[in-house]
C-alpha cells in the first residue's frame, strides 16, 4: 500500500515535483543572466552605433523586405525543380553502386567516381564550372540559361550526397530480409523494389531532409552566375543604399524556412530513434 498525503500524492511524486521546480528555477535564472549580459555588454562595444546603423536599420529593412521576399520566390522555384531531380538521380546512383551484375560493372565504377568527384569539389566551384562552362560552348537560347546549368550544378552535387545516404539506408536493412525474399523465389530486382528499398528509404528520410535544408540555402550560390535571387537582390540593395540591413533581411527569410524544416527533421529523427529502441 502506498502512503499518500492530503493532495493524494506519494512521497516520490512530492520529491520529484520539488526537483522539477528547482531545476526550472535554475534554468530560468541562468538564461536571464546570459541574455542580460549580452544586451548590456554588446552596446558598450566601441563600434556598436555604426554596426547598428548599417546592419539593423529599420527604415532600410521595411523598404527592402517586400522586394527580398519577391526575389526569394526564385530560390524556392529553383529548389522545387531541383529537389525531385536530386531524389531520382540520387536513387539511381545508389542502385548503380549496389549492383552485382558484371554487365553493369561500368555503371558501378561510374557511380563511385561520380560520388567521389562531386562530394569532393566545393559547390560554388561546380556552380561556376558548369554555369559558365557549358553555356560557353555557344549554345543557342534558351539553352545558355544560367537557370538550367546552375540548377544542374546543384542537382549533380546534391545527388552525390543523397545517393550515399540512400546507400547507407540500403545497407542498414538486415540481410535476413534479403534472404527471406530470396527464399520465396523473388528476383533480385523485386527484392530491392518491394522489400529492401521501402525499408531503406523510410530509414533515411530524416537524413535526407537535412540535405534538402542545405540545398535550400545553397540555391543562393546561383547568384554568382546571374539569376537575381534573394542573395543577389540583397547585394543590389546594399550597393544602392550603402547599407547591410538587406542581408539581415535575407537571412531572416532563410531562417523562416529552414528553422521549421530543421525542427521537423529533428522531430522525425527522434521519433525514429524511439521506435527503434
Amino acid at each position: 500500500m502506498s502512503k499518500t498525503n492530503a493532495a493524494g500524492k506519494t512521497r516520490r511524486q512530492i520529491y520529484e515535483d520539488r526537483l522539477r521546480r528547482r531545476s526550472m528555477l535554475i534554468a530560468g535564472g541562468s538564461t536571464l543572466a546570459v541574455f542580460l549580459t549580452v544586451i548590456l555588454l554588446v552596446p558598450l562595444a566601441p563600434g556598436w552605433d555604426r554596426v547598428k546603423a548599417s546592419f539593423f536599420n529599420w527604415e532600410v529593412f521595411a523598404k527592402t523586405f517586400p522586394k527580398l521576399l519577391e526575389a526569394f520566390k526564385l530560390d524556392v522555384a529553383i529548389f522545387l525543380w531541383s529537389a525531385p531531380a536530386i531524389v531520382i538521380l540520387g536513387l539511381l546512383v545508389a542502385l548503380a553502386r549496389d549492383t552485382r551484375n558484371p554487365a553493369l560493372f561500368p555503371l558501378r565504377i561510374l557511380g563511385a567516381a561520380y560520388t567521389d568527384i562531386f562530394r569532393g569539389v566545393p559547390v560554388v566551384l561546380t556552380v561556376y564550372l558548369i554555369g559558365f562552362g557549358i553555356p560557353g560552348l555557344g549554345l543557342p537560347r534558351p539553352w545558355n540559361s544560367p537557370y538550367i546549368w546552375g540548377s544542374l550544378a546543384l542537382i549533380l552535387t546534391y545527388s552525390a550526397y543523397v545517393a550515399e545516404i540512400f546507400r547507407s539506408g540500403i545497407e542498414s536493412v538486415h540481410k535476413s530480409q534479403r534472404a527471406a525474399a530470396q527464399s520465396l523465389g523473388l528476383s533480385d530486382a523485386d527484392n530491392m523494389r518491394f522489400v529492401i528499398l521501402p525499408q531503406a528509404i523510410r530509414r533515411v528520410i530524416p537524413a535526407q531532409m537535412n540535405m534538402f535544408i542545405a540545398l535550400q540555402k545553397d540555391v543562393a550560390l546561383l547568384s554568382f552566375i546571374g539569376p537575381v535571387e534573394i542573395f543577389r537582390q540583397a547585394g543590389v540593395f546594399k550597393s544602392l543604399l550603402a547599407n547591410f540591413t538587406p542581408y539581415v533581411g535575407a537571412a531572416a527569410i532563410f531562417l523562416a524556412v529552414t528553422i521549421p524544416a530543421t525542427r521537423y527533421a529533428d522531430y522525425l529523427m527522434a521519433k525514429q530513434n524511439r521506435e527503434r529502441s
Binding site: S176, Q177, A179, A180, A181, Q182, S183, L184, G185, L186, S187, D190, F194, V195, P198, Q199, R202
Partner: protein, 243 residues
Amino acid sequence: MAKITLKSVEKRFGDNTVCDGINLEVEEGQMVCLIGASGAGKSTLLRCINLLETIEDGEILLDGEDISLPGLNPQPVRRRIGMVFQSFNLFPHMTAVENVMLAPRRVYNKKRAELRSEVAELFERFGLADRMDHYPDQLSGGQQQRVAIVRALAMKPEVMLFDEITSALDPQLVGEVLDVLRLLKGSGMTMVLATHEMGFAREAADKVCFLKAGKVIEEGPPSALFDAPQHPDTQAFLARALK
C-alpha cells in the same frame, strides 16, 4: 526416389568447415528433424538446400535433379522449397496479407483480388483470419511465425524447411506453432526441421538426424535414436538435452 537427396555435401566459411560430407535422404511426405548443439551445421544445411548458400562440394538432388549445379538459376528452385526462419523475417512495412501475397503476385503474376481469397483460406486454416491486415509489429511472436509459414505456403512449395522456428518464441507460444507443423504433416507436406524441441521431434518426426561438427553422427526413427542411441556423442547430447 527420395524427394531430397544430399550426397557428401561440404560447406566451408573460410577455414571453418560447417558441413563436412553430409549424406541425407528425405522421402516424399516425410518429416525429418535435424538435432544437435548450436553450431553443429543444422541451419547452414537448410540454407544450402534452399540455395541461400552455395556448397563447396557434393550434390543436392530435388526429385533426382541436381540443384547444386554451379551456375544454376536458384529462383525456380526456391519457389519449390519454402523456408521459415528462426527470427520470422516478416517484411515490417507490409501487413500480414501483403507479406503473404507479394511473392505469388510477382512470381506467378496473380491478381490481388483472386489471391486474397485464396490466401484468406490459409489464414483461416492457421487461426489467423482476423490478423490478415495487421502489421508484423502488431502481432505476437507466435502469430508472426505462423504468418511466415503461411507466406512460404502461399508459393505452393513441394518441400518446407524450418530453421529453429520456435527458438525465438516465449514458451507459451511454442505450442501454437508446433500445432501448425502437425497440421502440415497431416496434409502430407515434405518437411525438414532444424529444432531443439526434442519432445516434438520424438512425437512427430519420421526420421531424426543427430549432427555434430558438420557431420551426421547418427540417424534413425525417433524411437531408436531417442531411446537407444548407439553413438557415444548422441548419448552425451541427449543426456544433456533431455535432462
